[in-house]
Amino acid sequence: MAITIERLPDAYRQMQVIRKFEEAIRSLFQQGRIRGSFHPCVGQEATAVGACWPLRKDDYLTCTYRGHGHALAKGLSVRAAMAEMLGKATGCSKGKGGSMHFTDPTVGLLGANAIVGAGLPHAAGAALASQMQKTDRVALTVFGEGAVNQGVFHETLNLAATWKLPVIFVCENNLFSEMTPSHETTSEVETYRRASSYKMPASRVDGNDLEIMYSAVETAVLRARTGAGPTYIEAMTYRLWGHMMGDPEVYRTKEDVSRAREVEPLVRLGKRLREIGRSDADINMLEAEAEAIIADAIEFAEASPIPDAAEALTEVFS
């Protein structure tokens, strides 16, 4: 199974929206207009789109604090995301969640999570609900390779495999756990081997190739939807920017990053579009469309009201 060639331009536009969203956030952050943390996903756009596009709107997703890409690819409104970044009442969490907690259950997004590994059991639990409710909804959770040393990673994989839950585990291996190369702190860097030991299909794929990523996830989704249980996909990717704003990036050289930029997902999908006959003008048009989506979101967010202070005391309980 594969993404159809006709959808590749749409995927490219989606990846550009994610890239330009992060670029806009960096600019706003540098202007001091965004509070708190920002963990950019630049360079990981193909894993985001490849993980989320094979899902239905009503399928569940949990992701990480480096999760803007996943949230947007799953269908979170760009306007609501941007407004949330600016702390506006029109944000997806009305200013209560911010960058690390994008949530929108209407598109299946059960939440990005700021605790490493903590979103895995939530996806497995949503999958358990689907199984008990006898629906064919599946759940997918995205996490970094830094999560594989957390206890809850192992607890969740064990439960998911034991109960044959319709859940897909997508490990975005970007080589760095925060600001430490993962190979320095992890005995088995091929994380899919750990998943294999829980007796589920597990493989490593080139996550920066949108078509490969999409195919791997689509196969896993079909497996989950038909009751065959969980799958683990280790998607190799690379974080082109630092862990967060202000990261001095002492753990790698500028040359490392330059080399990675030559094979980053947008460059590769751009080449692929030319291979299938798209012109430079076509590609420029897709980028311009993405740019317009981001400009509209910023305009919307800037025009939106800030929340009433008293709203801070609401929505603790249902």
Partner: protein
């Protein structure tokens, strides 16, 4: 009215909710065929099967995390911690996740999960199987904390907890499971957040909950022999706290003692007394007092454990010293 044990009352509550609401299911260690070490889930496996009475691995973060996800996706999980002490290995899922996900989502989702756990000492189970964590839990915005003392309250409040639509930490006590009491026949659901006056009296207000309520009642009988009539209030819910009932009582008695098994330090007693001084300082004719565990881990040998945990004599002597 039937006279049944606390464990049987909880069992009834679970059975009734499992029968009437297909969203309800149970997860925990040894709760299935075995029926649980305290028999709370006895025979539920036979009626509802392995899908709804789920034996889990010893993996508290995992199965509480799964419960949270299932709750968001429309189920009503009731998960059991074998001992409250084990909440600490799942603390992230309880504190950072269950309690906060709704708020961080701007109210767009809810987490209707009940986390049941028995806690407390008095049985020589030692420092990692005897702790009382209600004040920790009550300090986390987003958690409802319930700690019933009688079979009737246990049943009525567990049913309410399952229907609450929010994360509830439902605290039981290992020494209460075999205590007996009358439980109303038929549907019996109690309001969360309402204290109950278990004994009326005009001279002093004793606030307690969970197992300490029983000790407070015993102390009240002994105090009556000394001519002191104690009013005993069972908090039943720790969060939200029913200060109205406490204040109304103290306005009549002028004296307040809070008794709990958790350590005194930064405990529920401290909270109630602080609120008393904030909200109705003039009601007190003598300074309010509290009794809790002494500030050491809970030891095993009987003489040591009894020395650390509040006893009936401690309650009687403390009240007597307030006159």
């Amino acid at each position: 009215m039937a006279i049944i044990t606390y464990a049987q009352a909880l069992n009834q509550a679970l059975r009734e909710e499992l029968r009437t609401d297909p969203r309800v299911f149970l997860m925990g260690e040894d709760i299935g065929l075995h029926g649980g070490i305290f028999r709370v889930t006895a025979d539920l496996f036979a009626e509802f099967g392995a899908e709804r009475i789920r034996d889990t691995p010893i993996s508290e973060s995992g199965f509480i995390g799964l419960g949270i996800g299932a709750a968001i996706a429309g189920m009503r999980p009731v998960v059991e911690l074998l001992f409250m002490d084990f909440a600490l290995v799942a603390a992230d899922q309880i504190v950072n996740q269950a309690a906060k996900l709704r708020y961080m989502a701007g109210g767009t989702l809810s987490v209707p999960i009940v986390i049941r756990a028995q806690q407390g000492g008095g049985r020589g189970n030692g420092a990692q199987h005897s702790q009382s964590f209600e004040s920790w839990m009550a300090q986390i915005p987003g958690l409802i904390v319930i700690a019933p003392s009688t079979p009737a309250d246990a049943k009525g409040l567990l049913k309410a907890a399952i229907r609450a639509g929010n994360p509830v930490v439902f605290i039981e006590h290992k020494l209460l499971y075999n205590t007996k009491g009358e439980v109303p026949d038929g549907e019996h659901v109690l309001p969360i957040g309402r204290a109950d006056i278990k004994r009326s009296g005009r001279d002093v207000t004793i606030v307690a909950y969970s197992r300490m309520l029983l000790l407070a009642m015993e102390a009240a009988m002994q105090l009556a022999d000394k001519g002191i009539e104690a009013e005993v209030i069972d908090l039943r819910t720790i969060e939200p706290l029913d200060m109205d009932t406490v204040i109304a009582s103290v306005k009549g008695t002028g004296r307040l003692l809070v008794v709990h098994e958790a350590h005194s330090n930064c405990g529920v007693g401290a909270e109630i007394i602080a609120r008393m001084y904030e909200q109705a300082p003039d009601a007190l004719v003598v300074p309010a007092r509290r009794l809790g565990a002494k500030h050491v881990p809970i030891p095993v040998a009987e003489v040591l454990e009894n020395f650390v945990l509040p006893q009936v004599d401690d309650i009687v002597n403390t009240v007597a010293s307030m006159f």
